[in-house]
């Protein structure tokens, strides 16, 4: 029984110029689930990830985390040992270029007291590396520059798995990996979730890979989650006008589905952050008066949620 679940509830993150990077965001990631967090650059998804990892404190709201055994996790060390680990975007940046990659493995084992002696440590490291299709021999004594991007990203995932966390945060884990091996990394995540029951928060701006790998997805826009739910529902039957716009703009990898209509581009980011009401109102083709004044409420459909006044009007009050 590995009942992993995380309940996040976060309030306004106020930075010095008072831009709310993440605003009243709540979501829940179940055990053994790949949860997508998608949005444009500067939508707050990375801030959110940093808060989950404990690199930043939320201004208000709470983040709760449960281990693979179902017990709530408290304390800084435990948070990172049994709780949450991360896989970063650029594998060559994930490891110090001047240090051997294996050092990080031994340090993780040592610092979290995961093994009594070197033999145990080696066994544990070997096991983690096997899971990602590598072996200790393949990394022993080597520096990051001696790896290929794909290999190194696998090593990074293996390091994150060492302490058997219940959650992996993967921040754009494939955008720096060569296109020809990108999908093998995506498949690896799926495989790990199925085998270990670990949960993954997959942060990306690439909706196509998100669609491919995620179970559920949240679309963020200027610090807000505007739509969330089952990935098939959210992306294939988009309710929120912003999601619809996004889906139209993703270049489909099929020359038969070329773009036809034209799009309008936004003015300035900060302006949208500071906007009262719905942040998307300035660009929304269906914007109404109420959109500019009031923050829309969450409206639930079968398998998905969207925050939009328009839907409220068309659906009737729920």
């Amino acid at each position: 029984m590995r009942d992993v679940s995380k309940i996040f509830h976060m309030g306004s993150m106020l930075s010095r110029i008072r831009i709310t990077a993440v605003e009243h965001v709540s979501f829940r990631v179940g055990p053994g689930e790949i949860f997508g967090l998608a949005g444009e650059s500067g939508c707050g998804k990375t801030t959110l990830a940093r808060m989950i990892l404990g690199f930043e404190e939320p201004t208000s709201g709470t983040i709760a985390l449960r281990g693979r055994d179902g017990q709530p996790i408290v304390g800084r060390r435990a948070w990172r040992r049994a709780g949450v680990q991360a896989v970063f975007q650029n594998p060559f940046e994930t490891f110090n270029p001047l240090r051997q990659v294996e050092r990080y493995f031994f340090e993780t084992v040592q610092n979290y007291g995961l093994a009594g002696n070197r033999a145990e440590a080696l066994e544990r490291i070997e096991r983690a590396l096997q899971m990602v299709g590598l072996s200790y021999e393949a990394i022993a004594g080597r520096y990051p520059a001696e790896f290929s991007g794909g290999q190194l990203q696998r090593a990074s995932i293996a390091r994150a798995l060492l302490s058997e966390p219940s959650l992996l945060i993967a921040d754009e884990p494939v955008s720096m990996v060569d296109a020809s091996i990108r999908m093998s990394i995506m498949n690896l995540f799926r495989d790990l979730v199925d085998r270990l029951g670990v949960s993954v928060v997959y942060i990306t701006h690439d909706l196509a890979t998100a669609y491919y790998v995620c179970d559920r997805i949240a679309i963020m826009f200027r610090g807000n989650i505007v739509a969330m739910g089952n990935v098939d529902k959210v992306l294939m039957e988009p309710k929120h006008p912003y999601v619809r716009l996004l889906m139209e703009c993703v270049p489909q990898t099929d020359p038969k589905k070329r773009w036809r209509a034209k799009v309008q581009l936004s003015a300035s980011e900060t302006e949208e952050y500071l906007r009262a009401g719905c942040k998307f109102a300035g660009r929304c083709p269906h914007a109404m008066d109420i959109c500019k004044q009031e923050v829309p409420e969450e409206i639930y459909f079968e398998g998905q949620m969207a925050k939009c006044h328009l839907l409220r009007v068309s659906q009737g009050v729920q």
Binding site: Q151, D178, S180, I181, N187, T253, P255, R258, W259, V263
Partner: protein, 327 residues
């Protein structure tokens, strides 16, 4: 009608790091043709030599990059010019007016310490030295309006523009003198999808208006599927397959191209996608024979020994693969 023709181009970066020579073979025997009124896409992974290739086409060869062989021909007003036998001044005259280049980082085309109108003025001035300042400015403004950009961008400094707007301003600059060839290197890589679409839209629009050749270099096959007419796939410094966008996506022949196309995720289809095994080779030590053979499941002895010829296999379809040739 063709405007630029490359013939067996070879180039390498020769680095001398405290006496240790290192040669990076970035472009190897590339031949291609850019035609009037078409969008030519060059696709490849990072480090496959695609940026080097377009720098060669543009005539931007500076140490440590060295041209090792081959020719680049321009067809300017019916005359054939050999780019690398032209005098530097003649080459300079062709820039912006015949061929223009939008580099990866859009900032490098705009001078950060002068207002945008200054950069526009400089470009116009260099090719129309007798016009007055006001006339030039008016021409720049008109050009922006034609492209649907607000003329007020002329009055600001480059850093005041958002990434997407800056990219569009650079495109406007590159097309100011109606060049016959525009090369855009990763024009949308750092941009969000919505902005990305806007920028591509603009590139395509200008190309349609000028009826010229547009080259888009990218690693994103999705971008090419949407705007390209013909596509060249690069791998380890060579173009290994070239065909129309339809053929590339529907009947790719080279095993590498197939992996590339098949691994693309698509909406509405969650079937498992396979990646090519292994990883791209280093350009310092290229594998023998076909550079893809260590990753190719179908490789034969010949693939390990001989470099496959880049041959025409169908209508406008060229491939460099022994398997295709030998059936």
């Amino acid at each position: 009608m063709w405007s630029v023709r490359a013939n067996k181009l070879c180039a390498a970066y020769v680095l001398d790091i405290f006496g240790t020579k290192k040669v990076i073979h970035a472009v190897n025997e590339v031949s291609l043709e850019l035609r009037e009124n078409e969008v030519y896409g060059i696709a490849g992974e990072s480090g496959c030599g695609k940026t080097t290739l377009v720098r060669l086409l543009f005539g931007d060869v500076q140490p440590p990059l060295r041209l090792m062989g081959g020719r680049v021909l321009y067809q300017v007003d019916g005359r054939e010019l050999d780019l690398y036998s032209l005098a530097p001044a003649e080459r300079r005259d062709l820039r912006w007016s015949f061929i223009s280049y939008v580099p990866q980082s859009s900032m490098s085309n705009l001078n950060p310490v002068i207002k945008v109108k200054g950069t526009f003025g400089d470009v116009l001035k260099s090719h129309a030295p007798h016009q007055g300042k006001r006339e030039l400015l008016e021409r720049a403004r008109q050009h922006l309006v034609e492209l649907g950009l607000p003329p007020k961008v002329l009055e600001v400094y480059p850093h005041q523009l958002s990434g997407g707007m800056r990219q569009r301003v650079v495109i406007a600059l590159a097309t100011l003198l109606s060049p016959r060839v525009v090369i855009a290197d990763e024009p949308v890589t750092a941009l969000d999808v919505v902005v990305q679409r806007g920028v591509l839209q603009l590139l395509k629009e200008v190309q349609e208006r000028l009826q010229n050749a547009l080259v888009i270099v990218t690693h994103d096959m999705g971008v090419l599927a949407n705007v390209a007419d013909r596509i060249g796939i690069m791998y380890a410094g060579r173009i290994i397959e070239e065909a129309s966008v339809w053929t590339i996506f529907e009947q790719p022949l080279h095993p590498y191209t197939r992996y590339l196309i098949n691994s693309l995720p698509a909406f509405g289809d969650k079937g498992t996608r396979e990646s090519a095994p292994g990883s791209p080779p280093s350009l310092v030590e290229l594998p023998s024979g076909c550079a893809f053979h260590p990753r190719c499941r179908l490789a034969r002895d010949r693939c390990r020994e001989e470099v496959p010829e880049f041959e025409m296999v169908g209508d406008e379809h060229r491939v460099a693969c022994w398997l295709v040739k030998e059936g």
